[in-house]
Symmetry: C2
Subunit: 302 residues, 2 copies
Amino acid sequence: MRPVSLSGDHIQIQAFLDRYDTFLLDCDGVIWSGEELLPGAAEAINSLRKQGKTVIFITNNSTESRASFCRRFEKFGIPVHIDDVFTSAYITASYLSQDQRLAPPRDEVFILGSEGIENELSAADIKHLGGTDPAFQRDITLEDFKDLAATSTLSSSVGAVVVGVDLQLNYLKLCQAVTYIRNGATFLATNTDATFPIFGTVFPAAGSVAAAVSRASDTQPLLMGKPGPHMMDAILTRHEDLDRSPTCVVGDGLDTDIKFGVEQMLGTLLVLTGVSSRQDMECTDPKYAPEAFVEQLADLVL
Amino acid sequence: MRPVSLSGDHIQIQAFLDRYDTFLLDCDGVIWSGEELLPGAAEAINSLRKQGKTVIFITNNSTESRASFCRRFEKFGIPVHIDDVFTSAYITASYLSQDQRLAPPRDEVFILGSEGIENELSAADIKHLGGTDPAFQRDITLEDFKDLAATSTLSSSVGAVVVGVDLQLNYLKLCQAVTYIRNGATFLATNTDATFPIFGTVFPAAGSVAAAVSRASDTQPLLMGKPGPHMMDAILTRHEDLDRSPTCVVGDGLDTDIKFGVEQMLGTLLVLTGVSSRQDMECTDPKYAPEAFVEQLADLVL
């Protein structure tokens, strides 16, 4: 079925909203773009809550911790409880502390990614190295190649490598991540988004970094964020009585948010303020098309 | 047909060598590994030349210029003429100056790669930026994202992006490369090797860096090195009377050297001192299996 365009049609919008009592909102490209709140996004969240809807935030952004996300919401005048924020870094930490519990002697995680992953792993009492550690912020040397080949500079307790977007990406860290994986560590990606939206365009996301690691390690990552199932597992752990059929995902990415919604048997609404365009929607596999779309989140305010 | 094991069988080795008068030798993993000459490699080259064979060097390594490769050969006591050295950086420069000539106002190249590419582009009088320029050796800032989105810090004359292995890879350069390509620049990869061999193991090569760029730009690169056809075009330009049937590729990579040889209708010999193992050879598509293999290049000395 072709996605329905809702923007400007108050009757259709109300009918759509009436079908759901819980909204799972993506953040980047839906609520904000970079450091800027998208116009009317706070009002839209407020309006949903006024109508008695539960609003939960789900993001593949692994650069910040949940606590840091809460501060950002606060800055934008949107009150949010930390238990209602699900980030791919948090999902990764949950997965590693519950589902695939790392056990000694291989209970440490090497991070090719940002502070958000470090903070969430720390919060879950998981040991980690790499990430933003200044010791890794340098050019590789011939000595490094030799030491990595001999594994003499590798930690023997690393059992997993977590890859996310890394604004301090360098070749030394890429080599470390690849070598740990080639030596048997589990390869997890916070998400496999090709890009993230900011300032009206897109830049390389975790999926781009993970592609480099995958190619050199000849290994596919375990996907933590959307469209994988672990985000839903984590939501259901916190919100035990959440019912899928009156729950709708609102996102800007066809391959992530909408695919996640379809596979988790949830409602789906695409917003056109981020990664996916109207043209992308027309070209996508109809199985993974959204039920409906709006130009921007603000269009849901009646 | 199953590849024939030649090591230790002098009669089979002589029969194999007798079939060819030109040998196209890969370098990394065949002649040397990192900074170390592989045992007996110089003697093997010497022995081939003594038997009247023409020896040409073909490498996907784009980190050094041909002149720099010649100095390395000299250091190892192997006399080599610059016209007999074909590197993927040289092929890239040839391609951009002859086949797909860049014209003003888009005649500049952004490099995500090493000095070898810079030197070969300079030698072919092609303007370039990026690469090892210290101005790009820093962390990305929020201001950079804003400027890149507005294209205000991009050169309007960039018509192509060349990606190779980059030991000074960082997120800022990755973003620049991806943004130029998303804005219409041609995307060339010196090669798409997943890894390169050094110190008895392997590390991320140009194919790993190109995979990150590909994923974020949603664009496949034009492949310059092996197994693409441009390496052969360049060899035939320099060696006009080279005949394919008595020519044999000797390399350590099934996906690069051997595939190149098969597709160019040349003889193929795998050495097991680099990327591909005996097990890889058993698992590979029989169409792209080598005719024969040796443990090491030195095994060709009789």
